[in-house]
Amino acid sequence: MSSFHPHLLDRRVRLARGVVWGALATLVIVFFRTQILEHSAFQLQSETNRLRPIPLPAPRGIITDRNGKILAENVTGYTVSLLPAADEDSLRATLHRLAPIVKLDSQAIARVLVRYRRTPYLPIAVLPSATFDVVSALEERRLLFPGLLIQAEPKRYYPDSGLASHLVGYVGELTEAERSQQRVAAVRLGGLLGKDGLEREYDDSLRGYDGVRFVEVSALGHVVREAPPASRLAPVPGKPLHTTIDLDLQHYIAQIFPAGHRGAVLAMNPNTGEILALYSAPGFDPNAFVGGVDPEYWRRLNESEAHPLFDRTIKGRYPPGSTWKLAVAAMALKRGIVTLHSHMPIPCRGGLQYGNRFFRCWSGAGHGDLSLADAIAQSCDVYFYQLGLKLGLTSLLEDATALGFRSPTRIDLPDEKTGLFPGGTDYYDRVYGPRRWTSAVTLNLAIGQGENAQTLVNMVRFYQMLASDGRARAPYLVRPAPGPEATLGLTPDQLTGLRQAMISVVERGTARGAARFGGSIAIAGKTGTAQNPHGPAHGWFIGFAPADKPEIVVGAIVEFAREGPFVAPLVTRVIGRYLGVDTTVASNVRIVLPTDTAPHPMQLLPGPPAEDTTIPPLDTGVTPPPPPPVDTGHAAPAPGNR
């Protein structure tokens, strides 16, 4: 057996050992590289494997009124979400297993899948506000649902739901379209942000900063345990928002606003610009939007004739009607064309012949020969036709622009609409063609008809100038917008005279409340009737009180109210309430008002431009409805039951 001679064997042993050493050395080197040199990279991968970030939503800042009463707060609710699975098929399977418990239909499943595709690394909310029953049913079957995550989260809650819905707004999940805006770059997809009202305007400070925690998941996607608390980042709550609203007054307005009517009421402190109440009817239930709006409710809101989402205080544009006459008077006084005691050449005999047309006054019997103060008090159209002509079209347009009738009030609410008013005579050239219109348009403009449509907030701001020292103050809910403000440019005497002319309402309250004012409050105000081609006219009333030293200015518009005086009691009761007068007993209230029914606007020219003279508020003012949220809104409470 020469081949097994020890000498030969030793040679083979050496080679065999060499091979083994080489193999072992290779293994050691590879393990050294993997475990020591690349350790941190693999450690990271191991953590990425098993740790899933779970956003901890920050509680939004609470919103309070001027006395600290709650307009919007947070309550704790349960969110059912699923951790992202390895692929869409397994997620779909889990959703189908979940469907009977959380009542998901195929549409809702599709919506969840859409959201999964958008943020495949974040938990997907399946049921944004789950009841305790559903939560316990799910907990019992936890093993059936890989990635099931139930988390207590702060939910927005509006105690007064519909009363201040336009003012407070509502919240919703960030959508893809909003994501592209710079404004909300800090919000993750699926995060909450304010969609309207104060919630949107002050979203940045209300929102706070979401925190994050990590959970460990198994390869099958089951949540196994909470990751060490060191990795947890607590959410930073949003800052509270202190508004100028008087919730008590807001309540009162909602209570006395004629039921079933559409309209708006705006109350403001004339000396500061603070908004005391902002009410638009009909309202909606902002609580229904928390955690995703029920598609059915969303559809009803958008298809409703009344457009409940539409804020009539800042977005509804209405022809100002006779409330406009004060603006013309102020312009004329400022330019020194007239004084409060000036008379017009032609006394009112029920109308005015201008060119080949007869412009009627609302009072067919006529008012006779009036001073400016009397003309304001009696709202004489014939006087203002002549005043308008005396002022001239160019001055009228110029002064209206200067007084801010073509600019926004810059109230701190989103999407305020600007009043519609011609900026110059070139407007008429453009619409009718050069030399195809006459200065007769001035007559319509002078009495608040014609090419003029104003928002309630803008008209209230104008009356605020009358009610204060003549300077405009930016209306605000939280912070006034900085910047130069318009001024009436009237002397204190002229202002006092105008106010005096407007004292048309005298309200006598009971001794208790009105004692502060010697038993009665003088309310200065002006009615207005806006012609409406779609039905009965819209009624305006804007007033302030006490007339000599105003503390509150209140404007109201009620759609299809037929005439302005209809609206006046609403405003006087609001003012009375604010000033502490008991207005609940009707016998205590005496209202003296001229019946002011606006004349039909003169048809100046045939054809379509005439349509422009009265702007139907709902056709021009309504914003296109925002895209419906892609939420599954299961627990949305039944709206409209308030």
Binding site: L9, D10, A16, L24, V28, I36, S218, A219, V224
Partner: protein, 433 residues
């Protein structure tokens, strides 16, 4: 004759017991997951297998090498028959109960007969090679058919089966199961034992050249270069003309059949090989095993995540953590240090076995021990190498670590044979030369 225990090879016993204990602890840890599975209690079954393995060791230790040599052809014949039977039973109407349980585990290897057959092949090759007066000098000695036939028929006086057939028949049967990994182990055993019998390296290279040609055939350039190298080697080594031509022909045929052979592989086998080349190509499916294994090992660092506390294992990211990828558990939980300890134990085992083979009293014993060494080393290298993507993934177990009774038995039987051989050489007063 009852061998006195004090003459036993203590280092081998110590190393094997240490490896078995290390393996059992790792297997226990492998079952401790956050989502409990049947693996949780599998260490108890392994404990039973260990006990049986120790009994098998004692039995093999009691068996004299002569008895073993006599029984070798029968053992080999039985193994082949069982392999054939397994193949048909597996293909046909159901398999044996144990095999069915293996399949239910999701394992693709068909272990039980194949693992024992590895040992049988070791014994059979040892017997064949020990009968030779000289080490095989030509390919003709290694490759011939069992019946008389010009050029490739059995030479006069040679045993019925040539070494290539002894290893090739079980290898082919296992390959058909299909278990590519184990079938390659038979090839590895053949080459290590031929080497130990004194076969020239050049002959081994020529014998193995068709396999190299098969692998390189997937790249035309590499294959062409290999053919040129082969021609140069043939000119340099100057084998018989016919043998040289046969080698060339075999390599050319391999180049032709490579693609059909590839297509005949099961898709998972193809994917494993592809995943070896680029695990990130399909990280969710084919590459998953090796990626998760590397993450587990890499996140272990120097000291590991702590015994029982490896997150990759606990959260079930690590696949087959109790069989094929059990070494990843070592890497994750005990870190580089634990890996070094395990490798040191394996190295000690291999070196002790080489020493025993070197000091064996007769060629048969020596070849048996070296065959066992080659088998264990191949398993160790391939299994550990695949956990760090050094080698492609195959389903072969890690000795003394992976769960699985049959392979554990085979290992312990091999150890028992080695203990006997070591004891014999001590009895004969063999001193190191």
């Amino acid at each position: 004759m009852r061998p006195p225990l004090r003459e036993i090879d203590r280092p081998l016993v110590a190393v094997v017991l240490a490896l078995a204990a290390y393996g059992l602890a790792t297997l226990y840890s492998a079952g401790q997951t956050d989502v409990p599975t049947f693996v949780e209690t599998i260490w108890r079954k392994q404990l039973i297998w260990l006990a049986m393995g120790i009994i098998a060791t004692v039995l093999m230790f009691r068996a004299s090498p002569r008895l073993l040599e006599w029984a070798t052809p029968y053992a080999y014949a039985i193994s082949v028959v069982v392999l054939i039977w397994t193949l048909f039973a597996g293909v046909g109407a159901g398999t044996a109960a144990s095999e069915r349980s293996w399949l239910a585990l999701g394992g693709v290897r068909l272990g039980q007969p194949a693992e024992i057959a590895k040992l049988a092949v070791v014994l059979m090759l040892a017997r064949w090679l020990a009968e030779q007066r000289e080490p095989p000098a030509t390919l003709r000695h290694l490759v011939y058919l069992p019946f008389p036939f010009p050029f490739i028929g059995r030479p006069a006086g040679a045993p019925v089966l040539c070494p290539c057939l002894i290893a090739g028949i079980p290898s082919f049967l296992v390959f058909k199961q299909p278990d590519l990994g184990s079938s390659m182990v038979f090839v590895a055993i053949l080459f290590t034992m031929l080497y130990w019998a004194g076969t020239r390296i050049s002959l081994l290279v020529l014998l193995g050249s068709p396999v190299i040609g098969l692998v390189l055939a997937f790249s035309t350039v590499a294959w062409g270069a290999w053919i040129l190298v082969l021609i140069a080697l043939l000119i340099w080594w100057r084998p018989y003309v016919w043998e040289g031509l046969a080698v060339m022909l075999a390599n050319l045929i391999m180049g032709v059949v490579a693609v059909p052979f590839w297509q005949r592989l099961a898709p998972y086998q193809q994917n494993r090989l592809l995943a070896f080349l680029n695990p990130q190509e399909d990280p969710r499916a084919t590459g998953w095993h090796v990626i998760q294994s590397k993450i587990a090992i890499g996140s272990g660092g120097f000291l590991g995540q702590g015994f029982l506390h490896g997150p990759q294992k606990r959260l079930a990211f690590l696949p087959a953590q109790f069989t094929d990828f059990i070494f990843s558990v070592v890497g994750e939980e005990l870190g580089f240090l634990g890996v070094l300890v395990a490798l040191a134990l394996f190295a000690a085992l291999i070196f002790i076995l080489i020493r025993i083979a070197r000091r064996a009293t007769d060629p048969y014993s020596s070849l048996c021990v070296f065959g066992v060494t080659g088998m264990l080393f191949t398993h160790m290298l391939e299994n550990i190498g695949m956990t760090v993507n050094l080698l492609p993934i195959t389903g072969i177990p890690l000795p003394f670590f992976s769960y699985g009774g049959s392979f554990l038995l085979a290992c312990f039987m091999g150890v028992g044979i080695s203990l006997r051989v070591a004891w014999e050489s001590r009895q004969s007063g063999y001193a190191e030369l």
